[in-house]
Amino acid sequence: MKHTFKAAWIFSISAVLVLSACSGSEPTAESTAKETQTQNTEPADPYGRYEEPMTINIGMQVDPTDKDLPSGDTPLDNQYTRQIEEALNIKVEHAFTASAANMRQKISLAIASNDLPDALVVNAVELRQMVAAGQLADLTQVYERYASPEIKDIIEKTDGAALKSVTFDGKMYAIPGVQADADGIHIMWIRQDWLDKLGLEPPRTMEELENVARAFVEQDPDGNGISDTIGISGPQSGDGKMYANFLESKNNLFGFDAIFSAYGAYPGYWLDDGNGNPVYGSTLPETKEALSGLRDLYAKGLIDPEMAVREASDEPIINGKSGMFFAPWWMGYGPLTNAVKNNPKANWQAYALPLDADEAFRPHTATPSTEFVVVRKDYEHPEIPMKMLNNLFKNEMENTFDPSKGGPGFYPLRVVFAPSDEIEFTNKAIKEVLAGTKTKEDYAGDRSYKLLSSDLENITKIKQEPYDDWSIDTWTPDADWGAWTRAYSIMVGGNPLVETEMDRVNSMIYEQTPLMESRWVNLKKMEDEMFLKIVMGVAPIESFDQFVEDWKRQGGEQITREVAEALQQ
């Protein structure tokens, strides 16, 4: 171990860069020939089976601790890969696999060494880098000809946002995944049973939030006689963030997004200054105010004292030691399944709270596309990944796969295609069906809500009457944990989204500008470090002003101008 690390780090990354540079770097002239070859614009069969067996080498994220696959199955041989081979005659091979923690560096190395697999799933920054390096196939024709009508429908219903994120100089260089809007709305999850026990209401204002958190910390809500409970969970060390930002605009677990927005602060987002000019939210006075509020909560011990140092923030939630956290709707898929398995009475409910000074909930919103399927330039069959995505979506609609035999993450090149209102729509549909005002058959035509039919079928297995009460004791998760995970997320996590009037705040831009490629990392580091220090009381609140000055001087001002220019175009 030690020696390999030494070797790698003494000469830093240059090692890998060169080794492969010797083998890589193809001449670029060939690509033009390929483009003319695909000028055919006839629509093709999105599900057509290949006559000859095809092979595709992909880079894939595999969680080594995932034990969902039945014995005998592997990430290369499971229900998904077998179905792909049978339906499309495509054999999937792995160019590399990596765990979630190592995937980014693996991709980074693949880019740097110009040694890409035939296809893989990347994020926005990587996509940009690969396009700039001229490593990707132009997928414009592939998308036109092969994308299934349902997927096209979902991509095109994002008001052009999904397509814009993959279009460079008029060409499409990736197939954008589309995630539900709900993934970007961070709501309050709270132990309702603790509130009830202490005779409290869900906190509506920051003041009430402080009182509830204090009661959670001081009044022994878990009743074990030891003062060992956490008021508000905070971000974990490593990948934890206090707030989502314009580049990672969704699914921030255990951050303080809702608290920031209660102060009217949107750090990490590019906001309109009122005159149509962009301004970076982290540098505004509202953010200073919010940081000062959080600093106060932390100093009083109401936020997890181990925030930012704790390795896994979900642990105290699962163990019944935390009373409150902020995260999107899907927490059934997050810590709550294990929390309820541990304590069937842990009644986690969700609210669109706390409210700001105008009594409104104003969350920031996300860009629909954060995951992209890219294809290596010069790959002979650039349409194969598209057909695999078509196939996934079709089979999800038809309910072919059994998630208990390996979750959908095992589907090669999987990205999510969800209509933007999937959660809200499903939530309402389930309520209608439970109330008896509509039946399952009424929803048979909504094919792009791919899991709706199974959702409607399963709900009565796990949800008991009364149907207008969503407390944990009205659910029977033991009947089907898989179905409960989804239904509890959609109903309990979806209710605040459906029932609350929200003024959503957009970032003016969700992509990097050229200068950010070299300067953003250091600005972001400065920001993360400074804000954490302010909240945790290591640096005085006044250092915020110094941060704003430094930020502007070290490239922030130039970047702001660049963002303004990008918005003009």
């Binding site: 990354i13 540079a21 770097s25 980074s108 001229g134 070299s518 990392v521 954490l532």
Partner: protein, 296 residues
């Protein structure tokens, strides 16, 4: 020497080491050119445009870089000193122990942490020093209020050095013990005859006897002076302690591998190698001048 072809075996045994060195150390040196380019992976090292010294200029503008170099030097120097002194003292103490069985036990136990990786030890350390961890519970008994040790920038370098010494001192102790057994027992007998106390023979026989080993270990570790321990720090640090805990290697990792700034990361790596080279040259020269010792 005795048989003509005998040397061949030695060279054969050297071969894997040389292969390793060539593949991982010599060939990659060529990658240094990336630091002087606008590196475009699609075009590769041979066709990317030249940037001159721009990345180096930017590197010196960044406050981070200076901080990171300083942190690296501080942590590494503290580690080198601690790794020299503590195992030496421990080995001398063990050497005075007459109970062979007890000696073996102690030797083995202190040696054990050496075999654990920092991924595991990092988790253990974080738990030990966590808010409700044993250290804080002990402190509570003594009347201290709980502290989040790994969130305190001023403590971080000491925790890093301390835990590294705890992990590795058993290993270094064994090297010193081996050197101690190499001292001719007749010398001790003679000094005993002459009426020397144990302190005297320690000073005049033991210490001179292992001087070469001590110097050798130090000189060799000076080559690592800019490697403050990536795997250890990577598993222990968080943004709160970047100001004192972020070292060159973790910074290069984040910049180059996570944020795709290959050129800047390489530039910092090159500067690191350059400084490392100068330091090794100095230490080699010093070892030669001070005790007339040559490695090569």
């Amino acid at each position: 020497m005795r048989i003509k072809g005998f040397d061949k075996h030695y060279y054969l045994m050297l071969l894997p080491g040389y292969l390793w060195l060539i593949v991982f150390s010599i060939v990659p040196m060529f990658g240094i050119v990336i630091a002087f380019q606008y590196f475009n992976p699609g075009k590769g090292v041979f066709h990317s445009d030249w940037a001159g010294l721009e990345h180096f200029r930017y590197m010196f503008v960044l406050k981070d870089t200076r901080q990171v170099f300083f942190n690296t030097l501080l942590i590494a120097v503290l580690k080198i000193i601690a790794h020299l002194i503590i195992p030496l003292i421990f080995a001398l103490m063990l050497n005075e122990l007459r109970q062979i069985v007890l000696k073996r036990w102690i030797q083995t136990i202190v040696y054990l942490p050496h075999f654990l990786s920092w991924v595991i030890l990092g988790g253990i350390m974080l738990d030990l020093f966590s808010y409700n961890g044993p250290v804080n519970q002990l402190g509570a008994l003594l009347g201290f209020s709980p502290t989040l040790f790994f969130a305190k920038a001023e403590l971080f370098p000491w925790l890093v050095v301390g835990s590294d010494v705890w992990k590795e001192f058993g290993f270094n102790t064994i090297i010193y013990l081996a050197a101690l057994t190499g001292i001719n027992p007749a010398l001790y007998e003679a000094s005993g005859m002459d009426g020397a106390s144990r302190w005297r023979s320690l000073w005049h026989i033991t210490l001179p006897g292992i001087r070469t080993t001590a110097v050798l270990l130090t000189v060799l570790s000076l080559g690592n002076v800019l490697n403050a321990g990536f795997d250890q720090i990577f598993n222990l640090y968080n943004p709160l302690v970047y100001s004192t805990g972020d070292i060159i290697d973790t910074w290069v990792y984040r910049t180059g591998l996570l944020n795709l700034q290959y050129e800047l990361a390489t530039a910092v790596g090159v500067l690191k190698s350059l400084i490392g080279f100068i330091l090794i040259s100095i230490s080699y020269y010093l070892a030669y001048r001070l005790i007339n010792y040559r490695i090569f």
